[in-house]
């Protein structure tokens, strides 16, 4: 039986992973502002959850400058995609889908 992923299961992290894995692997990731809008998290909260996912190896975080402004772009790693897919499978198994 599938098991839950404790890192991903937290609601903000689940939303982050859902947003990032909705993009194709060859697409550019989502920037911090966009993720903030999608997850409804505050700056500090989102930063902490991004750090947790990065530590788990589920996302890559890239900091760069666009028009002289700092921008943080986040992408899902292939490991993160697999972990998220397994977690979704677990959720579906719980509801008996």
């Amino acid at each position: 039986m599938d098991v839950p992923n404790e890192v991903i299961h937290q609601s903000v992290r689940l939303r982050i992973m859902a947003a990032l894995t909705a993009l194709a692997p060859n697409e550019p990731g989502l920037d911090f502002g966009r993720l903030k809008k999608l997850t409804g998290a505050t700056d500090g909260n989102l930063g902490a959850h991004i750090a947790a996912l990065e530590k788990a190896g589920f996302i890559d975080v890239e900091k760069h400058f666009v028009d002289r402004r700092p921008r943080t772009t986040v992408t899902a790693t292939s490991e993160g995609r697999k972990a998220f897919a397994k977690h979704v499978a677990f959720l579906k198994s719980v509801i008996g889908d």
Binding site: R15, R34, K92, V94, I95
Partner: protein
């Protein structure tokens, strides 16, 4: 038993959450890509109307050039935004050919239109397509289509000899404005 039902409810809520986020990301992607196209075609249309106002005798030449430049630029933008398959390219070209072909049948063959009718006709054809597409791809397309169609009809009746300049502002400016809004949505 209570624990199981809570887990089920929690799992169902999490799956709903995922579905909502995925739908928003997909919508955002559609708007971002369409926004770029709208800005591109809005700028080209504005240019076309201004040139038509300045040299009405060469209007056909200007607009043929704008369609060619716009088509090439649209394909280039699509390629830049990810791998564009041959099939997708052909769909873009086929869609433009179908819309322009339909418009030409009415504006040149069946419609017997003067310059004023022609200037109002083409935007309404394209805006009709945006409105219909919006039923599937997002309400901003519907808003764009209906707003520009309404403003075009108003301009046809009340803008006098400045219709082409009015259309540069309404169609060109409206498309660009909507494009910027979509890119931020």
């Amino acid at each position: 038993m209570i624990l199981v039902s809570i887990e089920k409810a929690e799992a169902a809520a999490a799956l709903d959450d995922i579905e909502t986020i995925v739908a928003r990301v997909k919508q955002s992607r559609i708007y971002r890509n369409a926004g770029t196209m709208l800005i591109l075609w809005g700028a080209l249309c504005a240019l076309g109307y201004v040139l038509t106002y300045l040299r009405p005798a060469s209007a056909n030449l200007f607009w043929a050039g704008i369609v060619i430049v716009g088509t090439i630029a649209s394909l280039a933008v699509s390629v830049d935004r990810g791998p564009v398959t041959g099939r997708y390219k052909w769909r873009i070209l086929a869609m433009l050919a179908l819309i322009i072909g339909f418009g030409l049948i009415w504006s040149r063959l069946l419609g017997q239109m003067g310059w004023r009718e022609t200037a109002a006709f083409w935007p309404t054809v394209f805006m009709f397509c945006y409105t219909v597409a919006g039923l599937w791809f997002g309400r901003l397309f519907v808003v764009l289509g209906i707003a520009i169609t309404a403003l075009t009809i108003a301009g046809y009746f009340w803008s006098g000899p400045a219709l082409t300049l009015y259309m540069a502002l309404v169609e060109g400016g409206g498309m660009m404005l909507c494009g910027f809004v979509m890119r931020r949505a």
